[in-house]
Symmetry: C2
Subunit: 110 residues, 2 copies
DNA sequence: TTTGTATATTGCAATATTATGATAAAGATT
DNA sequence: AATCTTTATCATAATATTGCAATATACAAA
């Protein structure tokens, strides 16, 4: 137990859940917002922006990268991170679809 | 340790993270999709739809409810759940905003 | 080549999550 | 009232996540 039973769900469900989970921590939301704010990818100062120790930030960056939310390029002794638009669009499409369906069927019960 | 340092992040960051976290498990994604599929709120058969034991489903429903993603009405000895459009729209707006900004600044680095 | 700087990894402690069996609660049915 | 059905809660086990100090890695600069 303690392990998610991913094998019982569809690929798409697991994929959406993985993306959502990646954003399921305020530090990772803050990282995305910072990358957005500074425009494109600025290297280096992500650690200074966050109220967390460097290894913790590094770990959050790793999780965002694993989920595909950010891309990273090595540039000298720094690493340049930026948002992967494709993943944001995947989420955007998903929620747009849900919202559209909800509006159509105006679920007027609860 | 083990505890998220929510106090160091903004309310909005925590809020988005909480919503994303609620969808950060395939069972909860499946629940949302099922509620959407059957249109409005059907009572009762959520448990039968999912490959998980009843207490597990109950717990996932509770988490979705805590996050505000679904609303629940008591109807006889069943409970009637349905999606809360407001929260979906909150996420939709959030990702629309990010996507718009990303497109504008065409982050052409990585 | 030593020193500095930036990021990653390791190891570990504290806490959270996932999952389920057993049981409770509450209305419905007979 | 006794029973059925449905959902919630409790207790517990297994695993995951969060966070950081210590350390490693890797390039830059002196």
């Amino acid at each position: 137990m303690g392990t998610t039973k991913t094998e019982h769900f569809t690929n798409k469900q697991n994929q959406i859940a993985a993306l959502a989970k990646a954003l399921g921590h305020p530090a990772r939301v803050a990282i995305i917002e910072y990358l957005l704010k500074v425009n494109a990818c600025i290297c280096g100062d992500i650690v200074n922006e966050l109220p967390l120790a460097q290894p913790t930030v590094s770990q959050h960056l790793k999780e965002l990268k694993n989920a595909g939310m950010i891309k990273g390029n090595i540039e000298g002794n720094a690493i340049c991170y930026c948002i992967d638009e494709k993943m944001i669009d995947k989420l955007l499409n998903y929620f747009t679809n849900i919202s559209t369906k909800l509006t159509k069927q105006k679920n007027n019960c609860c």
